[in-house]
Symmetry: C2
């Protein structure tokens, strides 16, 4: 690793205190003690340790509550950084965030298409290197890279368990290889799970429990329960794009049939547009183009601009996503769904209103509680930011290890 974990083996109080300071932005020692239930003496000691590690700094004095004006603490945001990468064939987004989760640099390119793994990962590594360089970030302060991509995955081993986009990727050591290329730790995770936790960390949702529908080239899902990603037995949960919504539907590459994704994803909407030759011609859609996100963005733009044929297609995609949202709320019993990912950006308002209408009408437990649908604040960058956040969260988890247990 390029840098040692910021608090491996330290008492868990450190992690709790650091996270509280992060969330509060500025906070006094007295408030920290009151908020965390930790004694004033321990707070004084832990804050001293965090300051010695360079993670926390003093930033002036707050208002007096009777006596002396208290010294305010703040995360030293430049103490550490994390890189997040959204990686797929049609889009790559790379961000660097600081210790508070704030984005300090960003770059994007149109994905690695059908490049073989070695070339694709070399390309990503060179872009990460360049971004760290141009952002002027001290590489020694970069904790690691969160690589957010599709599944199924063996998250522990850092390999993909799918033949997408080509057979070479199956069990190729994507995370270990990228780590080797960069000389940085690389953590593999699901793009939708990353997007979901990114929304929470950035304060985009007030509740700690919600579902996330994530759409880039493909459709994914994530569920956050009390501020933690729901994982299941192998971190391959909430694969909402691969549930059957049409028992007479055709086979899907995943092995299932009538899969939801095949009715809503960019490629599906483009197929439908090409069937209506006038729309396909008007928008200059190319059936041979493998970059489905660009073609899809054209249809979404036309829909928002008022083209009736385009609007019909986007609304149909949204109705089926409504089914996804209903299934998610009826199984996980959620009252909030967040829409995130680049494919929701352009026609966000259409998707939001149609999906909300569907969940309010069709969710089984709607008489127990309403269900709201909101659009992401981090928009198309949600998964990349979430990837970086998962790296930071991993470090906080290390701080929370209690060596006395």
């Amino acid at each position: 690793m390029a840098t040692s974990p910021i608090g491996a083996g330290r008492p868990k109080t450190r992690g709790i205190v650091l996270n509280r300071i992060r969330k509060a932005r500025t906070i006094s020692r007295v408030e920290l003690a009151a908020d965390t239930g930790v004694t004033a003496a321990t707070i004084t000691q832990v804050v001293r340790e965090l300051m010695d590690l360079g993670l926390v700094v003093e930033v002036g004095r707050g208002a007096s509550t009777g006596g002396k004006r208290p010294t305010l603490l703040q995360i030293n945001q430049h103490a550490r950084y994390a890189v997040g990468v959204l990686f797929e064939r049609n889009i790559c987004i790379i961000v660097i965030v600081d210790l508070t989760g704030r984005q300090v640099a960003r770059t994007a390119f149109p994905g690695t298409a059908l490049l073989p793994p070695e070339q694709a990962l070399s390309l990503v590594a060179s872009r990460v290197d360049a971004l760290i360089e141009t952002a002027g970030v001290d590489r020694g302060k970069v904790l690691g890279v969160g690589l957010a991509t599709y599944g199924p995955q063996d998250r522990q081993a850092g390999v993909l368990l799918t033949h997408q986009p080509t057979a070479e990727w199956f069990r190729y050591p994507v995370a270990p290889r990228l780590s080797e290329l960069l000389g940085l730790p690389v953590l593999l995770d699901n793009d939708a799970a990353a997007a979901a936790i990114g929304e929470y960390w950035l304060g985009a949702v007030e509740s700690g429990t919600y579902g996330c529908l994530y759409m880039a080239s493909g459709l994914g899902g994530g569920v956050v329960i009390d501020g933690e990603v729901y994982r299941g037995v192998s971190s391959n949960a909430v694969e909402i794009g691969h549930i059957t919504i049409d028992l007479n539907g055709g086979p899907c590459d995943c092995g299932n049939y009538g899969c939801l994704g095949n009715y809503v994803e960019p490629a599906a909407v483009i197929r439908q547009a090409l069937k209506e030759s006038s729309l396909g011609q008007r928008l200059e859609l190319d059936p041979a183009d493998t970059d489905v996100m660009t073609g899809f963005a054209r249809i979404a733009t036309a829909a928002v601009a008022g083209d009736p044929a385009a609007r019909t297609l986007i609304e149909r995609s949204a109705r089926h996503l409504g089914t996804a949202a209903v299934t998610m709320t009826s199984l996980f019993d959620l009252d909030l769904i967040v829409l995130a990912g680049p494919s929701f950006t352009t026609a966000a308002s259409i998707y939001q209103s149609v999906i909300e209408e569907e969940v309010q009408r069709r969710t089984f437990a709607r008489r127990a509680h309403p269900v709201r649908v909101v659009t992401s604040v981090s928009s198309s960058d949600a998964a990349a930011i979430g990837g970086a956040v998962l790296v930071l969260q991993g470090e906080l988890a290390l701080l929370e290890l209690d060596v006395r247990a």
Copy 2:
């Protein structure tokens, strides 16, 4: 309440120790200390308190591991009891379990059909009273009643949020009213959730994480994560019968359309059998009969006996339940599905093999881990036993309250 909670406000160590003794059946103080990580001195004190409460007894000596032979402890199974009721229009099952979760008495009757709430609950109360009486259980030792039934529910208030089977039931205070009639605390819960936790408590599944498909008149689902029921925001989770599997399907009473339950439940299978007049006639199915479970059992029996037409129908129901299982495993990322409930009893082997084939072929993360399907050990009584277990678990949770926190 007829009896005070067995440990309200006591340190949580009590609950942990009691649960450990229950799981081990017999255990020494030394083993308890080793297993729980609690100091020997605390174990001695807590065991003394549990013995004073009459919940734990000494039962002789174990094998020596060098020194003196250790005294073995055991739950005093007759110290407390809980009642569990599976309640629905077509079937009612009542069980009494002791403090170890072992069934000590059982009765069943064909449900309350379309009786108004007041009469239906009076009937249930009289049957509970009679069962406690004939079983010779000291009523003062009965902790309460777990009423397991369909949803959606407001579990906190103890009311149903559905117009099933008639409009009178919507928001009728089922749990408070039954509690009044019995003079016992009544806890309302979802039948499938109860069945799921019942399987775990009884040691039917070795893993603490799995999904449960539950079928009586209707289809339900439950998910257990690390030994706890997955709840969601309002305890109305895993309503697997009301997710869309047919985007061209007809409307369901629940407000959704193409709902899975309408393709697999007893009433659906009977409808299909009646369409094939020869099968309907042969099995003497009556289209006007509201007792769908009896008619369904006839079809299931014929299927198991080798009737090809009946077998086709049961297999079709099983295939669609395979879709339910695939959706459950792909969203919750599970590696084990348990089939429980009275409607699985007769044709359990057909359902098990067909559903397992479907999940192994269609689950998204099947390359990350296999998925197994097993049938319940508690069979048709799963939900009733689970209802009683939830009462016991609630008491253990009270024991786990830490007043010092």
